[in-house]
């Protein structure tokens, strides 16, 4: 009966009330809108770009005019069109990397928390401790210098830098549920390790693991954008926001937008992800008590 009344009450209120809790907070809503905007620009942008991606339309570093809304870049190409094309590379790289990060981090963490073989836990966790000791970007650069560039090397590198954090969280969450009745029952029933991992443990530790997904995704975006900026990721003539910031420095004096527009879009992207992460953390009660 209580469930029925609650449903009725919720349905009676505005659609706003049906949103997840963290999206109802002001910063959550703002973050969601901004992120949607960036995603729209990145993935729908190529279809509405006014000019071709790589053909010069005016002289290099031309200031904004009615023909080229945000001027041209260091090679005379339309800045707006390149910005509309240039978001998908950083987003794809960070999305694929974060997926691999969680795939590896969660498995290793759960394995470390569950395994009964004495060497598995220390082996995984000492590796995690070691990787966590180094500055993320340094680790990534060292790997790139040895393994060369390329999309999958970058994905591997970013995942290598970020998975230790996930593994730590997954391990401690697993350790907490490992002694609960249902996991012990499954062990006694003689279920195999993978079955226990995926059917008993994983569904129960999922909330704990996903709690800081936003923060980690933001870190992946920063690493991906920085690598592109440093010239170690996307290569010219590809359009990429980070790469645009570095290659258009030469026309800063005549057309600020060639640098400012991609930088602003990267700013909106990282800020929106952080707003969402912050709102989500608040909704979980990890705040200083000001949240409702």
């Amino acid at each position: 009966m209580t469930a029925a009344t609650t449903t009725a009450a919720v349905a009676g209120r505005s659609a706003h009330r049906r949103l997840p809790r963290f999206l109802r907070r002001r910063e959550g809503a703002l973050g969601a809108v901004l992120l949607a905007l960036v995603l729209l620009v990145s993935f729908a942008g190529p279809f509405v770009a006014p000019h071709p991606l790589s053909r010069p339309v005016s002289f290099p570093g031309a200031p904004p005019s009615s023909a080229v809304l945000f001027g041209t870049d260091s090679l005379g190409r339309d800045v707006l069109s390149r910005v509309l094309f240039g978001g998908s590379s950083v987003l794809t790289l960070s999305l694929v990397s974060i997926a691999l990060t969680y795939l590896v981090g969660v498995q290793l963490g759960v394995l470390a928390g569950l395994s009964r073989r004495a060497f598995v836990d220390p082996l995984i966790m000492r590796l995690v401790d070691l990787l966590i000791t180094f500055p993320p970007l340094l680790l990534l650069l060292v790997l790139l210098s040895g393994a060369g560039e390329g999309f999958w090397v970058l994905v591997l590198g970013i995942a290598l830098v970020l998975f230790p954090g996930v593994a730590r969280v997954a391990r401690s969450a697993t350790a907490e549920v490992a002694t609960t009745g249902y996991v012990e029952a499954a062990t006694v029933r003689g279920e195999r390790l993978p079955a226990i991992m995926y059917r008993e443990v994983l569904p129960n530790i999922a909330p704990a693991i996903l709690a800081d997904l936003g923060v980690r995704f933001a870190a992946a975006v920063i690493l991906a954008a920085s690598v592109n900026f440093l010239g170690l990721g996307a290569q010219p003539p590809a359009a990429d926001w980070g790469l645009m910031v570095s290659e258009n420095r030469t026309v800063l004096a005549t057309n600020v937008w060639a640098v400012a527009l991609p930088a602003l879009l990267l700013a909106v992207l990282t800020i929106s992800v952080n707003l969402l992460a912050d709102a989500y953390a608040h909704s979980l009660g990890r705040s200083d008590g000001r949240s409702r």
Binding site: L141, F229, L230, V256
Partner: protein
């Protein structure tokens, strides 16, 4: 009546004889343990660096000399770099050399027949320049974060706090090169106040041309202060809600005294930890910031070495940065230990 009652022995009181001798010098114990662990980590890290930089089957000499290198030149460069020896032997001689301050020779410099090929000599100047940049940022970081964090904490929930919280979130979220670029757009393109690059002439040092340091330092501080001040604010709010602050309030102490003597002092433990994290962050941030402003430091040197596949130089710089990172880690934990008496007296 006004002073809070002391619980347990006073700070200077003799230690109870029941305490096991192990705990009597907790700071020394801690240092010995951490330094041993640090050395171990550094050795493991050096293996990691060495393996990662040698991950590519392709040959360093080949990459450096280009495709049309003659087999004779290749062989000559290889043997002078010691690349014809087995991996383990190369690692051991590299590590032994590094312990004597010799980080090997730069393959790129050798291929270009540069006058100076020793990595240790090549990176000494950039290392000094980077230290200047990092030190200035670190010294400014602490007072600024404390000021912003405390300001926000005592106004918690009010409009100024909300605005600050959005601003720090935004700044802390940005990649360093994005924040730096936006600062360049504002301060050098629009206002024309500061130079967009921090190049130095051959006879110049960063301190002889301080105007070039402003934007790099501001960029580093923008991100680091945003992070640390949020931690300071949270710690301060927690401290201001604690029982001893309530007691002090009920006793009618002046708000200023409560804020600094009882609130800030207690919250320092968490703050110091966040400063340590921020200073560690500076190590990663400095690489990108130097590249953005073409500041002649270790970060720019590292990026150039990575782009040119100058493996020996990458190894040397990475080892140095890793060592510095570990030392900072130990120092930060030591400071935390000294600031938070609880950690020293407990049976840890």
């Amino acid at each position: 009546m006004s002073a809070p009652t002391e619980i347990g022995p006073a700070p200077g009181a003799p230690v109870a004889p029941a305490t096991p001798p192990r705990v009597r010098r907790p700071v020394v114990d801690f240092l010995v343990r951490r330094i041993a662990l640090g050395v171990l980590t550094l050795v493991a890290g050096s293996i990691l660096i060495f393996l990662a930089t040698n991950a590519l089957p392709g040959n360093v000499a080949q990459v450096v000399l280009g495709r049309d290198a003659t087999p004779e030149r290749l062989a000559a460069l290889e043997s002078s770099l010691g690349l014809d020896r087995p991996l383990v032997e190369r690692y051991v001689s590299w590590l032994v050399g590094a312990l004597h301050g010799d980080l090997g020779r730069s393959a790129v410099a050798m291929a270009q027949s540069a006058p100076e090929t020793s990595v240790s000599v090549l990176i000494a100047g950039p290392l000094l320049n980077s230290s200047v940049l990092a030190l200035i940022a670190a010294v400014l970081l602490i007072p600024l974060s404390l000021a912003v964090g405390v300001f926000a904490a005592v106004r918690a929930g009010r409009p100024s706090d909300h605005v600050l919280s959005y601003v720090t979130l935004a700044f802390g979220a940005l990649p360093e090169f994005v924040l730096g670029t936006l600062l360049i757009v504002v301060f050098s393109s629009w206002l024309g106040l500061l130079p967009p690059v921090s190049l130095l002439g051959p006879s110049e040092t960063p301190l002889s041309r301080p105007v070039g340091l402003v934007l790099p330092v501001l960029t580093l501080l923008g991100v680091a202060v945003a992070f640390s001040s949020r931690q300071v604010r949270a710690g301060m709010i927690r401290a201001l809600r604690s029982e001893h602050v309530k007691t002090a309030r009920l006793n009618g102490l002046a708000e200023r005294r409560i804020r600094y003597r009882y609130g800030l002092r207690t919250s320092l433990a968490t703050s110091v930890q966040s400063f340590a994290q921020s200073i560690q962050y500076l190590f990663g941030g400095i690489i990108v910031v130097e590249a953005l402003f073409t500041y002649p430091g270790i970060g720019t040197a590292l990026i150039n070495a990575v782009l040119r596949r100058d493996v020996t130089q990458v190894q040397g710089i990475a080892l140095l940065l890793a060592a510095a990172y570990i030392v900072i880690n130990i120092l930060a934990d030591l400071v935390v230990l000294l600031v938070v008496p609880k950690l020293r007296t407990g049976a840890r």
